[in-house]
């Protein structure tokens, strides 16, 4: 039946847009290639007539050999199902694409990112500025012909390492002894300092008040990047009228560590430990998403036992992420550190499991293409058992008792930072933020990956869309995760944990692939393009924390300044993933 649906969909799209929409017929590719002129109409049809109301990912690919830039969109139905992929191809010299922000507001930050890193102009974007780098930075770094100051070779492994390796520090080969490079003819004396801030301040909204109202001055306040409640190096520029928030703009990039550029220099396997450092609070989920994306291209499937281990690890990750998030969220609410201490205690016990199985508390590097790196030892299995059947359920109940009906949590959470369902979908919010707004969308259910279709669990959903509901959702999800782990522990079979021989060089067939998992922060997607060589041609991360921030301004407007940190805490961002 589903094939039929796809067929009719295709017929409809192709008949409605003759000439300008063609199926993508490159080998290993999928979806449609849309003419730039027809993009807006095409997107409108998708959203209004076909039900693809959720634009998950927008990214660009630089096809240097063909002289083309391609913008890739992944759209979903919030009722579940496979993605619809569509692409726009534009010449590399002058890449201009119409902006989709008017149809899918969730494209806002992602288009800005594509402009910043690839230099693709989005016509009609309301606020097309750099987002991760600063205004004035030379070049668009993700372009294939752009080289970083420490550039050594196009791809790893570098030839200088073996067989004639002599240790050196890259800075010793740089004329400045630092990781810097300047364009020819540049004169620092003539440089007008960074204009990013001025642009931000200019762009902020203000309100005009009637004359007879109390005359108050509207001021601009910077929160961050060094701020105890921004969960890292994140900055928010806020216009305040008295204590009320008039407008807010998130500023990021303070932890932009060039994950994607490095990822395209790396071999396929080398990216695995790098994914740990994306959302460093939930490394196993990151591993999972990347492994899925590459396994799709390779066409391998992990053995049964490995599938179960993956699920157990991914759910343990979710638990430790959520309890940490709850602890930190209480911090933001003013219950300084005591709830965090209790939460971190449970997290430590889960980290012990990771350390014993994978070797590191945080940077697990545990998944391999076609399996996992190590089996779970007997004694650790027992500990997971103890945790899942005894300690964690008890402790979650305890936390629930302490916190859920606490005066502070209720008073500061209820009715604050409301995001209605239709707006949550429009802004491409994901994970707990989306589900707290009444949209029961969970990738584990909507498009099951791994063996999630075998488990009995509920998709947590709440309907108020406020801060308090986002807190409750996390509590609910921890309980569901425990349920999944309990089932997995009962069902896990003996057997191998790896399909085929472990290998470190992978010949990945050419093509594209999008692997997505329900990470603790939301839908985590990896878009990879292979050209048949040992390294990914394009490696893009659809980071849920990053895209969830698109809705931040919407949520905060009209609230008091003290609510900002609470609202931000309820989104639960990790800067490693926001900035990558």
């Amino acid at each position: 039946m589903s094939e039929q649906v796809v067929a009719t969909e295709q017929d409809l799209l192709l008949s409605r847009f003759p000439e300008v929409v063609k199926p993508d017929e490159r080998k290993g590719y999928d979806g449609y290639i849309v003419d730039a002129k027809a993009l807006l109409d095409f997107a409108k049809t998708l959203r209004d007539d076909l039900g693809y109301d959720y634009l998950s990912s927008v990214t660009g690919v630089d096809y240097l050999p063909e002289g083309k830039m391609e913008v890739v969109y992944h759209a979903y139905k919030t009722t579940g199902g496979a993605p619809l992929v569509f692409k726009v191809q534009v010449p590399r010299e002058n890449p201009v694409v119409p902006s989709l922000v008017s149809i899918y507001p969730g494209a806002d930050f992602q288009e800005r990112e594509a402009w910043d890193l690839l230099g693709i102009k989005f016509e009609g974007h309301p606020n097309l500025k750099r987002i991760l780098m600063w205004e004035g930075f030379h070049g668009h770094p993700l372009r294939k012909d752009w080289h970083e100051p420490y550039y050594e070779e196009e791809h790893k492994p570098y030839k200088s390492r073996w067989p004639e390796g002599k240790a050196f520090r890259a800075e010793d080969r740089n004329p400045f002894g630092k990781n810097v490079d300047y364009p020819a003819g540049f004169d620092p004396a003539k440089w007008t300092p960074d204009i990013s801030d001025a642009l931000i301040y200019e762009g902020l909204g203000r309100i005009d008040k009637p004359r007879d109202d109390l005359p108050t001055e509207q001021i601009i306040v910077n929160l961050g990047p060094q701020h105890p409640s921004t969960h890292g190096v994140f900055r928010m520029v806020v216009t305040l009228d008295g204590e009320t928030i008039v407008d807010l703009e998130p500023v990021m990039g303070y932890l932009h560590r060039n994950h994607e550029k490095i990822g395209e220099r790396n071999t396929w396997l080398m990216n695995m430990p790098f994914t740990d450092r994306l959302d460093y609070l939930s490394p196993m989920s990151n591993n999972f998403g990347y492994a899925l994306a590459v396994e799709k291209l390779l066409g391998v499937k992990p053995p049964e036992r490995a599938e179960y281990i993956r699920v157990i690890m991914a759910e343990l990750t979710r638990i430790q992420n959520h309890i940490f998030a709850i602890g930190m969220f209480l911090n933001d609410m003013g219950a300084f550190f005591t709830p965090s201490l209790y939460a971190i205690e449970e997290r430590e016990l889960i980290l012990d499991v990771f350390e014993a199985v994978a070797g590191s508390r945080m940077m697990v590097n545990y998944f391999r293409f076609g399996g996992v790196a190590r089996d779970i030892p007997e004694d650790v299995m027992k500990k997971i058992h103890d945790l899942a059947f005894e300690r964690l359920p008890r402790r979650i109940d305890e936390l629930d008792r302490y916190l859920t009906n606490s005066e502070i949590v209720r008073a500061r959470g209820e009715g604050v930072g409301v995001l209605p369902a239709e707006k949550a979908i429009a802004f491409s919010a994901a994970g707990p933020v989306l589900r707290a707004s009444g949209v029961p969308y969970d990738v584990r259910r909507a498009e099951p990956y791994g063996i999630y279709d075998r488990f009995d669990f509920d998709v947590a959903v709440r309907y108020h869309g406020d801060v308090y509901d986002r807190y409750l959702i996390r509590m609910d999800e921890v309980r569901q995760s425990i349920r999944i782990i309990q089932q997995a522990l009962k069902q896990i079979p003996e057997g191998p944990i790896m399909t085929g021989k472990p290998q470190y060089q992978h010949r990945v067939p050419p093509g594209e692939s999008y692997g997505r998992v329900e990470g603790p922060k939301g839908e985590l997607g990896f878009y990879v393009v292979s050209n048949g060589k040992g390294n990914p041609w394009r490696y893009h991360v659809r980071a849920p924390s990053f895209i969830n921030l698109t809705a931040l301004a919407e949520m905060t407007r009209g609230h008091k300044v003290a609510d900002i940190v609470v609202i931000l805490g309820s989104i639960d961002i990790v800067l490693g993933e926001v900035d990558r």
Partner: protein, 221 residues
């Protein structure tokens, strides 16, 4: 005179016999350092992954309150240790240097993890500062990616040992010196390097022009 000499009988015996049970002698350096060493207040300043391990070090299991470090201050004015926990990016660097300048003397910097020490796995990245020691004086480097909480505590103990060995004069000799704040240009620019940058870009422009004319003449020929 080293502080250890004070324990020798030569000095001890100079204390009158009836006071030996109640009087202890020390040097000013020593008692001053004892106080400083046991009340190092880190700044609540996390950059990346290592910051999570730093939070875990502050939490119940490892608890660096046992070293007098539990008061993590969010304001640099009240802190005397900056634990650079994570990758320093070029965009963040001006803020990091400014925070350092705002800290009260005597101040210390701990580079926690591979990234803060030398760029770590992200070293080759275009927005990454390969080692904070290019801009700030670092006292202790802690390798690891990330260092476990125990490794961090070991590093902080190393810092305490360092504090112990300093003399008051040494401590305040560098007081009040500010580090020029880097500027975001086409790439990060250290104000002290302006001359060098100009030379470099001029040379680069000349080389490019030469290459262009060479290519032109080759084409016309």
């Amino acid at each position: 005179m080293s502080t250890d000499d004070l324990n020798s009988p030569e000095y001890k015996d100079k204390i009158p016999e009836e006071l030996q049970g109640t009087v202890a002698i020390t040097t000013l350096d020593r008692i001053y350092n004892w106080g400083r060493r046991n009340s190092l207040w880190p700044m609540m300043f996390g950059l990346a992954c290592c910051a999570i391990e730093m939070i875990c070090t502050a939490a119940a299991r490892f608890d660096f309150a046992r070293f007098g470090m539990e008061v993590m201050r969010s304001s640099p004015r009240q802190a005397d240790v900056m634990i650079v926990a994570g990758t320093v990016t070029k965009k963040m660097l001006p803020q990091v240097v400014r925070l350092y300048n705002q800290m009260a003397d005597p101040k210390y910097v701990v580079a926690m993890g591979a990234c803060a020490s030398g760029g770590g796995p992200f070293k080759e990245g275009y927005n990454v500062v390969s080692g904070i020691d290019k801009y700030l004086p670092v006292d202790v480097y802690i390798p690891g990616c990330p260092p476990t909480p125990q490794a961090l505590i070991y590093g902080l103990m190393k810092l305490q040992q360092k504090v112990d060995k300093q003399s008051i004069k040494e401590v305040y000799s560098n007081a009040g010196k500010e580090i020029p704040i880097p500027v975001l240009g086409p790439d990060i620019m250290d104000p002290r390097d302006y001359e060098k940058i100009r030379e470099y870009t001029l040379k680069k422009a000349e080389a490019e022009a030469q290459a262009a004319t060479a290519a032109e003449s080759a084409q016309s020929a």
